[in-house]
């Protein structure tokens, strides 16, 4: 704490973020929280129903239950691709000396392409009739038996809609983790190598502990984005076939804007917030215990 700070200076620095956050995020969230105790269709009056929206969702709504499970699978796939893949690619980038900067920008390319274009691309990649890329490649290596309409098969669709999201931001997490890896002091790594540590040991004992804070940030970022992930599944399959790729977020969107149950949709979003809080809490807990 700075000794010479004045109450005014704290206020000067704190006011803009509080205003932005309060007006743009907190206010609507509180309004939404209040709304979750009501039944409202947007046209006729509000009906106070207490916890009924929550009760109906948690106890009687089979779509919500399916969506909840799907969202967890979606989360795992996104984390594997984004954080796991990002860390691997960042480590690989450390092994080369030339062209790293260009590579990084090129890796970021999928992230800047508009979502509708990404969705359409993947629709074609997974397509069965006309034959898409995945099925063509399977055919080329003699695995025709595995060919299928990936987005229409209830057993593959969830993975199929998760992969594009994970793949898309791989470059972003690579860049962040790579920047962290660069900050690992060279001397430490060299000393470890001289002591006979192999590449894996250098990574596990020197690099990884050093980038831990950034890694945790990345993990939290990827987790919360995945728990809020929405647009690619929405555009690719709209939750189908059946509810096989329905996520909590797409279900919430539909509950609000297709079905017009704003109260129930607000209740879902409150649940998403809780879900994210639990996930972040778990990450911090596990990592702290590991650190001790």
């Amino acid at each position: 704490m700075l000794p010479h700070r004045s109450r005014l200076s704290v206020l000067v620095f704190l006011a803009p973020p509080l205003l932005l956050f309060g007006g743009g995020v907190l206010l609507p969230i509180v309004q939404s929280l209040v709304l979750s105790f009501f039944e409202w269709d947007g046209i006729t009056g509000l009906d106070f129903v207490g916890l009924e929206n929550y009760r109906a969702l948690l106890l009687h709504d089979d779509v919500f239950r399916t969506a909840f499970g799907n969202q967890l699978v979606y989360l795992v796939i996104c984390l594997l691709l984004q954080v796991g893949g990002g860390l691997l690619v960042a480590t690989l980038l450390m092994t080369i000396t030339r062209g790293r900067e260009v590579l990084k920008v090129l890796y970021l390319m999928p992230a800047v392409i508009s979502t509708p274009a990404i969705a359409l691309l993947f629709q074609r990649i997974y397509s069965f009739e006309p034959e898409g890329l995945v099925n063509t490649l399977l055919g080329a290596v003699g695995l025709d038996a595995l060919a299928r309409p990936w987005l229409s098969d209830v057993s593959t669709v969830l993975t199929a809609v998760s992969v594009p999201e994970g793949w898309r931001f791989l470059g972003l997490y690579t860049v962040i983790l790579y920047a962290a890896l660069l900050s690992v002091p060279r001397e430490l790594e060299e000393a470890a190598s001289l002591d006979g540590a192999n590449a894996w040991q250098v990574f596990a004992r020197i690099r990884f502990p050093h980038i831990m804070p950034v890694f945790v940030t990345t993990l939290i970022m990827a987790t919360t984005y995945a728990l809020r992930g929405f647009d690619i599944p929405f555009l690719l399959t709209n939750g189908g076939p059946g509810q096989a790729s329905e996520l909590v977020t797409t279900y919430m969107y539909k509950t609000a804007f297709t079905s017009g149950h704003y109260g129930s949709a607000s209740a879902i979003s409150v649940i998403i917030v809780l879900e994210c809080l639990v996930a972040v809490g778990l990450i911090l807990l596990v990592l702290r215990r590991k650190a001790d």
Binding site: F13, L14, L120, P213, A256, Y262, A265
Partner: protein
């Protein structure tokens, strides 16, 4: 992409760990060059594979945008087109308002990023450097925002905006975009500020510098790397935002790129895909250019920061 990256070659590790330092140095030296060469080849191959995976979609996009409309409909979309045409680009310009959309997207992305950086820096400075009685509480409040799904805010915000007459302005899209990104930005700034040594501040205080001067002289100049990171990460999400723009923007004149792409949707959803792709190819360019420039800044900042210790 497979999920293998984090799975280490476990036996090797277990065998090597206890033996560390006990192994004869000569043997180690014999092994390392070949091992290195193989791992280097493997890593280059992997890097190239990832490169193909990440760049191919963009090439596909370009190729499709140069493809004849009927050819796209009838032929295998992944084959090389037999003839190239610029028709799609002329249709894209004719039917859409590409330049206007790009301009709007630039204004909104730029404005939101500015808002985000200013608020993120100021907030982190107040919490981490200045400090105050309820700073822990305020920090917690902000961090809570990391986990809030944006869709929840749509209807309440829409009603709020319509009440104060702010609907259909650039600002109405910037505020929630920056607001929802603020927690993550604040978090990045907070963790960065915790690395700035206390002694720097103490020395400055002894020289008689107040909180504003310290911010301008010490904190701000040291923050550029983080600023670039925050901007890069968020610009992507803001540039691609559809939900807020679709909700709060009503006029044609204010439409952003993701909204503008709908100009190619025809009757009952019959979409002119090749024109859409031509438009996407054009609209991707500004952000890519910004990235190329920022990327150098980020690397430079990070490396100089790292070498200074």
């Amino acid at each position: 992409m497979t999920s293998a990256p984090l799975a280490p070659p476990v036996p090797a590790r277990e065998a090597a760990a206890p033996a560390l330092g006990r192994r004869p140095p000569a043997r180690r030296r014999r092994e390392r060059p070949t091992g290195l060469r193989i791992s280097r080849i493997v890593s280059r191959v992997l890097i190239a594979a990832v490169l193909v995976m990440q760049v191919y979609p963009f090439l596909w996009l370009l190729q499709t945008s140069l493809r004849d409309r009927e050819d796209f409909a009838a032929a295998n979309p992944f084959s090389i087109p037999t003839q190239l045409t610029l028709d799609n680009f002329s249709r894209a310009f004719e039917q859409g308002h590409l330049l206007r959309s790009i301009l709007n997207s630039l204004i909104i992305t730029g404005g939101a990023c500015l808002l985000l950086v200013v608020c993120g820096m100021a907030g982190a400075y107040a919490i981490a450097v200045l400090g105050f009685r309820f700073s822990g509480l305020v920090r917690g409040l902000f961090l809570l925002g990391i986990v809030v799904p944006v869709q929840v805010a749509l209807v309440p915000l829409f009603i709020d905006y319509s009440r104060i007459g702010m609907l259909d302005t650039h600002l109405s899209v910037m505020i929630p975009l920056a607001g929802f990104a603020l927690p993550m930005a604040l978090y990045l700034f907070l963790s960065f500020y915790s690395y700035i040594p206390r002694e720097l501040y103490e020395a400055a205080t002894l020289d008689g510098a107040g909180p504003y001067r310290i911010f301008a002289r010490i904190t701000l100049p040291m923050s550029w790397n983080t600023v670039v990171t925050v901007v890069m990460v968020n610009a992507i999400f803001i540039w691609n935002d559809f939900v807020f723009a679709n909700t709060f923007i009503l006029s044609e004149e204010l439409k952003t790129i993701p909204l503008g792409l709908q100009d190619y949707v025809g009757a009952m959803g019959n979409t002119d895909w090749t024109a859409t792709f031509a438009a996407v190819s054009i609209t991707v360019t500004p952000l890519l250019l910004v990235f190329l420039v920022l990327n150098r800044a980020m690397i430079y900042g990070l490396e100089s920061g790292a070498s200074k210790g």
